[in-house]
């Protein structure tokens, strides 16, 4: 749910990075944090376990610039990917304006990808949100690994509707900003449609 503050002349939107455990959601945000002009970003918060697995969420606020005199801010969140943290995932999804699904390209993680995507669908559905009408980007991460599954196979399993998708290697930044820009653009287009 976007927030338009006429007094501060600000538009705030929420984007959630979703996906199975260890797929690279936090790595996406860390790369964005590392490579963004300090003037445009706030502090990155990671609520993680001692072994650096996301416990609750990561959070990164970004200011992209102004549209018609309104400062446009995006709040990026990740969810904890491990299966047993579903209560936390539901909380973090609330009020999101757009979703990035980070899929792990390793062949042995395909079942986890499918389960996580179905979990996203169910959790959105519980809030009365249809994934089909939500700004959504599919990111195939870890394309550089030798055990990466063929792209066609991943597409058939995870993106049969042929939504916007990117190949990525978040550890070295490949595809990270392309994904972010695409989801931000879709969110803004969606808000534009809503205002009509």
């Amino acid at each position: 749910m976007s927030f338009i503050n006429y007094s501060a002349r600000e538009i705030n939107c929420k984007i959630v990075y979703y996906g199975p455990g260890l797929c690279g959601k936090t790595t996406n945000l860390q790369w964005i944090y590392k490579r963004t002009n300090p003037k445009l970003k706030g502090k990155m918060i990671s609520l993680a376990t001692e072994t650096e697995r996301t416990l609750f969420f990561d959070f990164l606020p970004l200011a992209l610039g102004t549209i018609r005199g309104f400062q446009t801010r995006f709040h990026l969140y990740t969810v904890p990917g491990q299966v047993f943290y579903n209560a936390s995932r539901k909380l973090i999804l609330k009020g999101c304006d757009g979703v990035v699904f980070v899929a792990d390209s390793q062949a042995e993680r395909m079942e986890a990808n499918v389960e996580s995507l179905e979990n996203l669908r169910v959790n959105l559905d519980a809030q009365g949100i249809d994934l089909a009408t939500t700004p959504f980007i599919m990111q195939y991460n870890k394309r550089d690994l030798p055990n990466a599954a063929p792209l066609d196979e991943m597409r058939a399993l995870l993106n049969p509707r042929d939504l916007t998708e990117f190949e990525a290697c978040a550890a070295n930044g490949g595809g990270v900003f392309e994904t972010l820009k695409a989801v931000a653009r879709e969110v803004l287009h969606d808000l534009k449609q809503m205002s009509r």
Partner: protein, 162 residues
């Protein structure tokens, strides 16, 4: 996909500021924040220079959401008030409406009893303002154009040109 958008017009923002401005004096508080359940900072007052307000808003919303989850596990709908006590500063958090949170930071110049008392009074005023805000959001065109009404694809693309 959306829930209703949160649209805060200037007159409503002024009303919120008036309530929290009064509360900060009445409760001898250090700082006050109004945050929505999605982690967006709606209004602030007091000594906020050293506080990362964006992070505070996000964490406060996460904390309230998690606390509500805990409440449901023990058969309650919600724990609408909670309190975090520190050595120097403490934080008193209240759910004003299902969508809005009031967070009050105070130190030993004040007391939990005083904050609790003054917050109870302020919550009614804030709830009335946010009910007005909610009703306005149901018919936004009556209260002014959305900044999105006139934007073009080019405006959006320009955001990403740098």
């Amino acid at each position: 996909m959306h829930d209703q958008q949160l649209l805060l017009y200037e007159e409503d923002h002024r009303s919120v500021q008036a309530v929290i401005g009064q509360l900060i004096r009445d409760a001898d508080a250090l700082a006050i924040f109004v945050v929505d359940m999605n982690g967006q900072l709606v209004a602030e007052a007091g000594e906020i220079r050293d506080i990362d307000t964006t992070s505070l808003a996000s964490l406060c919303a996460g904390c309230v959401a998690a606390t509500a989850g805990l409440a449901r596990l023990v058969g309650e709908n919600d724990f609408p008030v909670h309190f975090h006590q520190g050595r120097r500063a403490s934080l008193h958090v209240t759910r004003v409406t299902p969508q809005m949170i009031l967070a009050v930071v105070f130190d030993d110049r004040s007391s939990l009893g005083l904050v609790r008392l003054r917050v109870r009074k302020a919550v009614g005023g804030l709830a009335r303002i946010f009910e007005t805000v909610r009703k306005k959001a149901e018919r936004p065109r009556a209260f002014g154009n959305s900044p999105f009404a006139d934007i073009t694809d080019e405006d959006i693309d320009n955001l990403f040109s740098n």
